[in-house]
């Protein structure tokens, strides 16, 4: 009886153990396996480094610098130490006493959180990390991050863009090169699962799963460091000298479309972009449109020469006085009139009435077609994220007065990059090239060259030569001749465009510009200089032109070009 009872108890235990084993081995097996794997394996997310942005000579324009995320393990830190730790850390992390109090308050809140892991501060530099490391506080740790580093400071800010964070807190490029080439620049995240021992150390012969990170590609720009510096310095001086609200300049190689320099002010510091108004982020050279004024006459005259509608010596038949058209009166900029002016004189005097004559000779259909061919109304496809292009009004909506005003650059809008690309085609024997900032992309030691892209022939070689000669004469005899470097053949045109405000033009607020290329016989560069609302003088000939010539003079020395005249 007793033996039988004992046997039944044993069987019962056996059944209970079997059920328990069945539960562990079968029912809860997946959950337990996962728990065991979590103990055996450590998951690591490794960020690939963001690629560098380099000048054409290989010097660094944007790179990365090591930075760290300071985190705390609140459950490891004793509650009574919270205040002390927050005080010490705030002292290290702050730059002034006001900031110190704010940081201390935030740190205390984070340390009190009922969490295993809390981030305390991002973007800590290596010096601050070393100071915190020396404190040897248990429950504090660092994760590696990477911040952008700009050795040239705010130089080239608009063409570079900046690196911010997306909604997930991951680095992403905004605006300029950083935005346009974000896919190439950003590294590929690596995720590794590594077998670890009880102390959390890697097991050498253990399993290693996952993928390794890949660094982003390096981007070499066409931007020439020296030319960029020359342009930026000249614009800075110009803004001060002419009391302008802003200034822009772009230098391009006409034969290839390579952008050699691009600068605009006011700009911002890409490393501390959040401290600047958001209005500063967009690159005005590619994102803002303006009425070009007289610089536009270059394109209209080139089109008329190409169509044989006029010749350089064709006499203007309507230049003896103001022209009345559709209820409007068209005058010259200085109210001086030259009857029997040749087309070259029209360009030299920047004669609006002469351009109305040219516009009429050309006709709307042809003018419109040339504007489209010059790229007006379309994106230039420059490799910058923030490019936009104002629409070219549909041809059906053009009235006679619109044709007349467009012929001297009023009532039509374009971006500075569109202007320089269009004029560049005239410096390149009529061939329009796509502008590009990137010279090559380097990935794992391999170089991928960005080749020049020909778009179309806009005007013939002969027409390009004729307009070049007219522009050389405009520089030699025009309003800005006093500022021209002696002995060099420069083709160019000034522009002074009133700014349309609330349906009318404000005569005191202008966009003063100068566009041109040199040496005229074999152009090495084409350049546009533009001042927004200069106050010392409203005219392009007294503001933008001297800056153009100042830059050109330095470029001649830089390129070792000797005077020919």
């Amino acid at each position: 009886m007793r033996i039988s009872f004992l046997r039944n108890i044993l069987i019962l235990f056996l059944v209970i153990i079997s059920f328990r084993l069945f539960y562990w081995q079968v029912i809860a097996s997946e959950k337990l396996q996962a728990k065991a794997e979590n103990q055996h394996f450590q998951s690591l997310t490794l960020q690939g480094e963001r690629g560098k942005i380099l000048f054409r000579d290989g010097s660094i324009l944007a790179s990365s610098k090591p930075a760290f995320l300071l985190y705390a393990l609140p459950k490891v830190i004793k509650t009574q130490d919270h205040s002390n730790i927050a005080t010490i850390l705030a002292r290290i992390l702050s730059t002034n006493s006001v900031e110190e109090l704010e940081i201390k308050k935030k740190l205390l809140e984070s340390l009190k959180a009922d969490l295993y892991w809390v981030p305390l501060q991002r973007g800590i530099d290596i010096e601050k990390r070393r100071k915190i490391d020396r404190l040897n506080i248990k429950g504090l740790g660092f994760d590696s991050l990477s911040n952008r580093f700009y050795p040239e400071g705010s130089s080239s800010a608009h063409l570079l863009g900046f690196v911010g964070q997306d909604a997930k807190g991951e680095d992403i490029g905004y605006f300029g090169i950083e935005g346009f080439y974000n896919g190439e620049l950003k590294g590929i995240v690596g995720r590794i699962r590594q077998e670890i021992d009880a102390l959390g150390l890697p097991i050498v012969i253990g399993r290693l799963l996952g993928t390794t990170p890949r660094n982003g590609k390096d981007i070499v720009l066409n931007i020439d460091e020296s030319i960029q510096f020359i342009v930026e310095q000249a614009l800075r001086r110009g803004i001060e000298k002419y009391g302008a609200a802003g200034a822009e300049a772009i230098v391009m190689e006409p034969k290839t479309g390579s952008v050699l320099a691009m600068a605009s002010f006011p700009n911002y510091d890409p490393e501390n972009f959040s401290e600047f108004p958001k209005d500063f982020y967009k690159n005005p050279i590619v994102a803002n449109s303006y009425e070009p004024g007289s610089t536009f006459k270059v394109l209209v005259m080139a089109a008329a020469l190409n169509e044989n509608a006029v010749k350089p010596d064709t006499k203007c038949e309507v230049c003896s006085g103001p022209i009345s058209l559709g209820g409007f009166t068209i005058r010259t900029w200085n109210n001086k009139y030259y009857s029997e002016s040749s087309m070259t004189d029209v360009v030299i005097h920047s004669d609006n009435t002469g351009m109305v004559f040219v516009g009429k000779k050309l006709g709307l259909d042809k003018l419109y077609s040339y504007l489209e061919n010059f790229g007006i109304g379309k994106l230039t496809n420059v490799d910058l994220q923030d490019e936009s292009a104002p629409d070219l009004r549909p041809k059906s909506q053009w009235r006679e007065i619109d044709l007349a005003t467009a012929s001297f650059g009023q009532g039509i809008a374009l971006t500075p990059i569109q202007m320089v690309v269009a004029v560049s085609s005239l410096a390149n024997e009529g061939n329009l090239m796509e502008p590009h900032l990137v010279k090559e992309i380097i990935s794992d030691g391999k170089k991928f060259e960005v080749k020049p892209k020909f778009i179309r022939e806009v005007v013939s070689k002969e027409a390009a030569k004729d307009i070049t000669e007219m522009l050389v004469k405009a520089v030699d005899s025009g309003e800005a001749k006093w500022a021209k470097p002696k002995g060099f053949k420069i083709a160019g045109k000034t522009g002074t465009a009133q700014i349309p405000i609330a349906g009318h033009y404000d005569s005191n607020k202008t966009i003063a510009s100068f566009v041109g290329f040199a040496p005229a016989d074999n152009p090495k560069f084409v350049m546009l200089v533009l001042y927004n609302q200069p106050t010392s003088s409203i005219f392009g000939s007294e503001t933008a032109a001297p800056t153009f010539f100042e830059i050109a003079k330095q470029l001649f020395t830089y390129y070792k070009i000797a005077p020919t005249e």
Partner: protein, 88 residues
């Protein structure tokens, strides 16, 4: 008779190889027990050296930047040439 001798020999070889591999694995696991720590140390050292290398590279680029050179040149009294003579 001959085939059974071969199969027995094969079985013995297999067992010897398996036992040897097992012993090698135990031996390797034993001698690499403390290597995890070394590996971690090397990994940390690599990270520190990489960071310091990056910092030095950044320092070089900062000092060789054209803005820095221009500032230094100006402080030494150097200026942009005003009159250039061309020899033809």
């Amino acid at each position: 008779m001959l085939s059974s001798l071969y199969s027995r020999r094969t079985a013995v070889i297999c067992i010897v190889v398996a036992v040897s591999l097992l012993l090698i694995q135990i031996w390797v696991a034993h001698i690499t027990t403390t290597s995890g720590e070394k590996l971690k140390e090397i990994d940390n050292l690599q990270k520190i050296l990489k960071s310091e290398n990056q910092l030095l590279e950044n320092e070089i680029s900062k000092f060789s930047s054209i803005n820095h050179i221009a500032t230094e040149a100006a402080s030494l009294g150097l200026d942009v040439p005003k009159n250039i003579q061309y020899i033809k």
